[in-house]
Symmetry: C2
């Protein structure tokens, strides 16, 4: 490709409104352009990367035995009513009417379509297991699209769905997909981790996310420093302290704490460590038979953070987790939120394992402007239950039993689920077994955010000059950069000849034939992140050489012109 | 691919509601499944064909210098308001609102998006010409989707858009695209014709359609029997008869014709040929300054058909063409539609060239129940103008000047336009010229219906057993069909070994490892249209041979097992 016949579209300035570095660089390097909130056009350079990612994903899906199909973007609403998701799914599901006022959705995923299809097409256990994938445009009407294609509304996704007679077979395919995902991210050249994940609203039994590690990631991931253990912090178990709880040594004492509310204020006022305090958060219980929701207290050590995912899964707690209003707290406790504590608290009390391990702790006295010191469980506060409701923190023992927790940030680029029978049950998807009985199928689903991978790769691989693509997904393998071609016939001839040679060898090369200053050309190619720059200048041509600049290592070296092809030999 | 691990999904019965043979065969051969009206899931076999078509289209676009991008399916309404198409486009444009009640459309084409993009990204004449293409899902909310993917609502299209400073440059790119389209349809192995086309509502100056010839086609195409001339019948000019008009020999005579209305009835009653009569059709003129629409008469020879496209382009005729109601005709002429004729007709009269060549003709007398015989132009009917307003018919002289017209049916699979400045003007898409002036760009657009090509290929290539794919787009190059594999270890071993060998050679082969009777297997592979069946049976193995069945020619031959690979050598 010649730049003069290409849409390079690089930008010198960082565009306003691009918050994260991948979004900035995707705009500056001419990979995408914004069309409307959360909608992006993929320019030629970006599309080349996207297609390289897609190709690797497709090859590994096929290698793992999945077969490709293509389901429509637009799906009829009745399928979503059948599965129950028409009511369950929030406003991210874009619902539309056709010209006859029949309801449809723009597909955010395709569980309904594939389950209906398999239910119709597969009638015998002999045709199982089957694993069908597609690479298709999805639409999710995000309330606040942001970070470019990282959280766009229209995006490209690979989704696969497997169907099985038995859980054991599902687990085998799940493992195949797990392995295929590992190969995909290895081939992409990304630093990634599979992590144990919460199954969330999609339901099901087991789940892993695949994260590209990057400081800008939206998710916290808990690793063991001594094993392979990794889990989304939403899911990582905080173990109970191993030692027995200390004995009580202090008397329960009510202290006037005027204006003191937050844990920081309490700890400072009482001159104790936040670790020696507890905080009490008030949430709602599920509706009772009269539609009323009681208030429930969640008690954590002062320095710990509530894990909402863990909390909302508990019996007696409403899902999604809903915090009690000031009015609801006043009605139940007759004091403000900042003064609540577990001593004589007239509601159900759920205590985190670490908070339950404290002795002689400080807490709210359930009276505005007062706290207790020297509080102790059982002696002062009774009728509570102990659960894991906090986020793990660095230094916690790893739940795998080996080593301590460290926390890193990640960008979720893949997610695999053992879905179970949720959809197959709802949509009557089953087969006749060998013994002639009808049996509902069990199901797995496996997603990869193809367009998001492009952004995540940049978050992980860039410097102040631009993108540093992993070789497998660089838009071009190399760029030919001639110096002052307009003034040197020899430079022009050499560049043209090299371009022909590389093209004929099947190398994906960009020939920068613009009449631009060398500095402008170098800046563009470093921004775009082309791995190898082949710089052709008068001086080196005296020795029949060109200069090769490596974008990743920054190394420059001289190379004989007739050895350029050796750069592209598989190592 | 092994059938046991594949979704073959063939059907024995022809599904109800599938009217055309391609739709029937696409369902029966397991290429697609209907999800909702006009929405289809591409099953693995169909998707393989679709991707092969897409690949050929992409390769030829790139060879012709077009660069690939990817624009969103969902487009903001404001772009459509800017171009004017928000109001122009009918209900086929699916308009939707997002969660914030902002209006969007599902893109039926992408002129607006690309024109806005190029207007933003290209600032200098040095960056021109540029030709950008994409292969993307489109949506058109057809009022009556039918014929399967032939006229679906969601479909895959390749659309390209070129931008130029000057008409001459546009014409060069237009010719390149014309040539690329010819190469595409040649490579696809289809019998096709480029035909001169009407530019229709998309506007512009010159246009060609590419048609796959098939009796089931929806379009009539006029060819010359002696030259390359081909035009959509909408566009083919009906030349004026070359000879001078005959002299009048009869007197104008009013004849009572009670109950006689249609041309067939008139000709039978008066005992004349329909070619010696004229029919007069009443349509509306454009609105005048008071919003009123006058009635206009269109006069054709009795045996000719009105060409509405030609008529609605005439000055003095409303577009789209609108026939006058009975009430409007009564108000203007005071008689019924079946009794109108051009003698003393008190409205504007437009006469087709062939009707204007008649002498001594029969026509309505503008009085219910009466016709004239012996009518003659100028003597009896004055104040008319002559235009080309009919469809050509077989035997007409070709407008190219060589030979006579023959008419065949075609399926439109491609359409290229010289669009001109319609979009660039409306959306302010221009550059600075060499002399520093701002100049609006001129534009071409070039579409191919990728999914429709699959259906059109089947319409053109099938027999009573199923599909006869052109080799370039057959889903599989060959199928291995072992006879009674369960009972013969030798057959099984040979089949497995051959499968491994062909796979390793990169041949796209389907290994039919089902425990089915030979008849069932043959029927399936003939239905799917696999070009070569490699039949492995006990008897031929005695001679180290297999039987090769050619789907296109029907020929069977024996081949040594170790020569099978030679079948796949490029010829």
């Amino acid at each position: 490709m010649r730049t003069s016949q290409y849409l390079l579209a690089t930008l010198k300035e960082t565009p306003a409104n691009a918050e994260v570095v991948s979004h900035q660089l995707m705009l500056r390097a001419g990979l995408v352009r914004n069309l409307a909130s959360g909608l992006y056009t993929w320019l030629p350079t970006g599309l080349k990367v996207l297609r390289k990612v897609e190709k690797i994903v497709r090859e590994e899906m096929e290698r793992a035995g999945a077969i490709e199909a293509l389901m429509p973007v637009v799906q009829p609403a009745d399928l979503w009513e059948e599965s129950g998701r028409w009511d369950e799914y929030g406003p991210e599901l874009l619902r539309i009417n056709d010209r006859h006022q029949r309801p449809f959705v723009l597909g955010p995923t395709h569980e309904e379509v594939i389950t209906k299809l398999i239910g119709n097409e597969i009638s015998s256990y002999k045709q199982l297991p089957i694993n069908v994938f597609q690479v298709q445009t999805k639409f999710r009407d995000e309330i606040r699209p942001r970070f470019g294609v990282m959280r766009g509304r229209e995006f490209l996704m690979k989704d696969a769905y497997s169907f099985h007679l038995e859980q054991e077979c599902l687990e085998q395919t799940y493992q195949k997909m797990f392995d295929a995902y590992c190969r995909i991210f290895e081939r992409l050249g990304l630093d990634y981790r599979p992590v144990i994940a919460d199954t969330g609203s999609i339901g099901g039994d087991a789940s892993h996310e695949f994260h590209v590690l990057a400081e800008s990631g939206e998710d916290d991931i808990a690793f063991s420093d001594s094993s392979d253990f990794a889990a989304n912090i939403e899911k990582a178990e905080a173990l109970a302290p191993a030692s027995p709880r200390a004995e009580a040594t202090q008397a329960l004492t009510k202290v006037a704490t005027p204006g003191v509310k937050s844990i920081e204020e309490v700890a400072a006022f009482l001159k104790v460590d936040a670790k020696a305090t507890v905080k009490t958060l008030m949430v709602l219980a599920p509706e009772d038979e009269n539609g009323q929701q009681a208030v429930v207290a969640l008690v954590l050590r002062g320095d710990h953070q509530l894990n909402e995912i863990k909390a909302e899964k508990l019996d007696g707690v409403a899902a999604p987790l809903t915090f009690a209003s000031e009015e609801q707290i006043q009605a139940a406790i007759n004091c403000q939120a900042g003064s609540i504590g577990p001593v004589n608290l007239p509601v159900e009390v759920i205590v985190d394992r670490s908070a339950a391990h404290l002795a002689d702790f400080a807490c709210g006295a359930n009276e505005d402007g007062y706290h207790y010191t020297g509080a102790n469980w059982d002696r002062d506060a009774e009728n509570y239950r102990v659960e894991d409701i906090r986020n793990v923190v660095e230094g916690d023992p790893s739940p795998c039993g080996q080593g301590k927790i460290i926390i890193k940030r990640g960008i979720e680029v893949g997610h695999i689920f053992q879905l179970g029978k949720k959809y197959a049950d709802a949509m009557n998807c089953g087969v006749l077994t060998e013994s002639g009985k009808h049996q509902t199928l069990t199901m797995g689903c496996y997603g990869i955010g193809v367009s998001r991978i492009v952004a995540a790769a940049i978050e992980q691989n860039h410097d102040k000059y631009g993108i540093k693509w992993p070789a497998a997904i660089a838009p071009f393998q190399a760029a030919i950069v001639p110096m002052n071609m307009a003034k040197s016939a020899r430079v022009k001839e050499t560049a043209e000849a090299l371009y022909q040679e590389l093209q004929q060898a099947g190398i994906d090369v960009l020939f920068d034939d613009r009449k631009e200053r060398p500095g402008v050309m170098f800046a563009d190619h470093e921004l775009i992140g082309t791995p190898l720059l082949l710089v052709i200048g008068e001086r080196n041509l005296d020795n029949q050489q060109i200069e090769v600049k490596n974008r990743i290592t920054g190394e420059k070296s001289l190379l004989a012109i007739d050895e350029v092809l050796s750069l592209f030999k598989p190592q």
